[in-house]
């Protein structure tokens, strides 16, 4: 099944993406919990604003990190995992 890159991701209500200086990294905060994100998840997460489509996020990352192979697939994979975990909603 092909992934629809026109979909727009937004964080689920009550989920907050933020930088934590003490952990020197980005986290996703939610009721009574926290997930530490790795570098690539952080780069993607930073572009989720409820307005950019998945396609726009891929384009923005491609500009930031030119020449990364499989970038589009990585972003799609992140979206699928985040959606399955109910961290984000795709509409």
């Amino acid at each position: 099944m092909s992934f629809d890159r026109q979909l727009i991701p937004r964080w689920r209500q009550g989920y907050r993406f933020q930088f934590e200086p003490a952990q020197n990294g980005h986290v996703l905060l939610y009721p009574e919990g926290m997930i530490k994100l790795n570098e690539s998840a952080s780069a993607i997460g930073g572009l989720i604003d409820g307005e950019r489509s998945v396609e726009a996020i891929i384009a923005a990352l491609d500009e930031q990190f030119p020449g990364v192979p499989e970038l589009g697939t990585d972003v799609e994979q992140f979206m699928e995992v985040a959606r399955a975990e109910h961290w984000i909603e795709l509409a």
């Binding site: 689920r12 934590e20 003490a22 952990q23 986290v27 009574e32 919990g33 926290m34 997930i35 530490k36």
Partner: protein, 400 residues
């Protein structure tokens, strides 16, 4: 408050304390960051839950911290890496400065959680807290059934009020956790409990089988479910999970098994002084909210900085690492997984907090656990016979 299974942060971060190599200080053991700050604002509470995890002698505890003292605690802990803050108690709503505390916590960058019984909550407060920056509200229920709920809560209006507030929480756009402490008197209604949570559109449901600390320990015989009750409840929960997954329903059911039916102890608090930091109403800092009863002098935030409390105080270092362990933990190949279990439970049941948690079948005291399981098979205590958590009972217990 309940012996709640606060969702542990999924990735425990451990970082070495920065030390100047030029100073030749012996290296400190790796200490985790205090990612979770539990702010027990008060022991005052309109409910009387007989499974409350507050200390039995709460009525004789010292004065509550002021707003400014809490501001200082929050600022220092945030600087040290605390990202989650839980406002708890007692019932945190009785603090008149709650909105102020929420606003300051949010300003500092915390994810702010209000852990409440819902008694004393109003729609206006829900709106005001949202403006102040509150991220999430957890409401605890005592049972799915009005009569049982009210009896346990020691209030005639508790149930209707909770339902109304749960609906208002969702209406105003908060994520909501509903917490049910289950025990032998309500666990057989687990299907009705889950149905109620789904109807109220909870995002997370904590089905927390009573853990036996504080008042719950006192009332254990009247609370511990039987093995059959527990197995049945877990099976039904799993059936709901399967159905919810098919429907792609985002609600998460969290089922907390009581230690008493395990053969290995829980990795309590993810290790002593490793992630969790509790500050009690009078400013005593604890590595977990059950630790107050231990014969350890814990530091107070009135006297020390959070930095000192977390990294240097005797109390927070007492059970860090593995050197304190006697056998069978010392030579156990699972010690890095469960840290020997819960120190409070070891103390309560064996009199020595260094012992292996008796939940572990390797513990020489494991018989206490199996005996409690046997007792659960023929216990006959009714709800009315439990010792309710209130000032009067607390004072009697504190005296004796």
């Amino acid at each position: 408050m309940q012996s709640t299974g606060l969702n542990s942060p999924e990735s425990a971060v451990t970082e070495t304390v920065a030390t100047d190599p030029g100073l030749r200080i012996p290296p400190k053991p790796e200490v985790g960051l205090p990612l979770w700050l539990l702010a027990e604002l008060t022991y005052r509470c309109p409910l009387q839950c007989p499974y409350c995890s507050n200390p039995l002698d709460f009525a004789k505890q010292g004065q509550e911290l002021t707003t400014e003292q809490w501001f200082k605690v929050m600022a220092e802990a945030r600087q040290m890496g605390a990202a989650q803050i839980g406002f708890s108690g007692g019932e945190p709503l009785v603090r008149q400065d709650l909105a102020e505390l929420i606003a300051e916590a949010r300003r500092l960058g915390y994810y702010t959680n209000l852990i409440t019984s819902g008694i004393g909550l109003t729609e206006q407060k829900i709106i005001d807290f949202k403006k102040a920056g509150l991220d999430h509200i957890q409401i605890s229920f005592q049972a799915s059934d009005e009569q049982v709920n009210n009896m346990l809560a020691g209030s005639k209006k508790a149930f209707a009020q909770k339902l109304e507030m749960a609906r208002a929480v969702k209406k105003h756009g908060y994520p909501m956790v509903l917490n049910f402490v289950t025990h032998r008197h309500n666990i057989d209604k687990i299907d009705r409990i889950i149905d109620l949570c789904l109807a109220l559109e909870a995002d997370f449901v904590e089905l927390a089988t009573c853990q036996f600390y504080g008042w719950a320990h006192l009332n254990r015989v009247g609370l511990l479910p039987t093995k059959d009750q527990l197995v049945r409840a877990e099976r039904i929960t799993n059936e709901y999970r399967a159905r919810l997954a098919i429907d792609d329903n985002p609600v998460k059911l969290i089922f907390v098994t009581p230690d008493y039916y395990e053969e290995r102890p829980k990795a309590c608090m993810n290790g002593w002084g490793n992630i969790f930091l509790t500050v009690t109403p009078d400013g005593t800092a604890l590595p977990c909210h059950g630790a107050r009863q231990m014969p350890i002098q814990f530091p107070n935030v009135r006297d020390h900085t959070m930095q000192h409390i977390w990294y240097d105080s005797f109390g927070f270092n007492r059970f860090r690492g593995y050197d304190w362990m006697p056998e069978p933990c010392r030579s156990c190949d699972e010690k890095e997984k469960d840290f020997g279990g819960c120190r409070c439970q070891a103390f309560m049941l064996t009199g020595d907090a260094s012992n292996a948690d008796p939940v572990c079948s390797k513990s020489e005291h494991h018989g206490l656990i199996t005996q409690a399981r046997d007792e659960a098979e023929y216990a006959s205590q009714t709800i009315e016979q439990l010792a309710f958590r209130n000032e009067r009972n607390s004072r009697i217990i504190a005296k004796s």
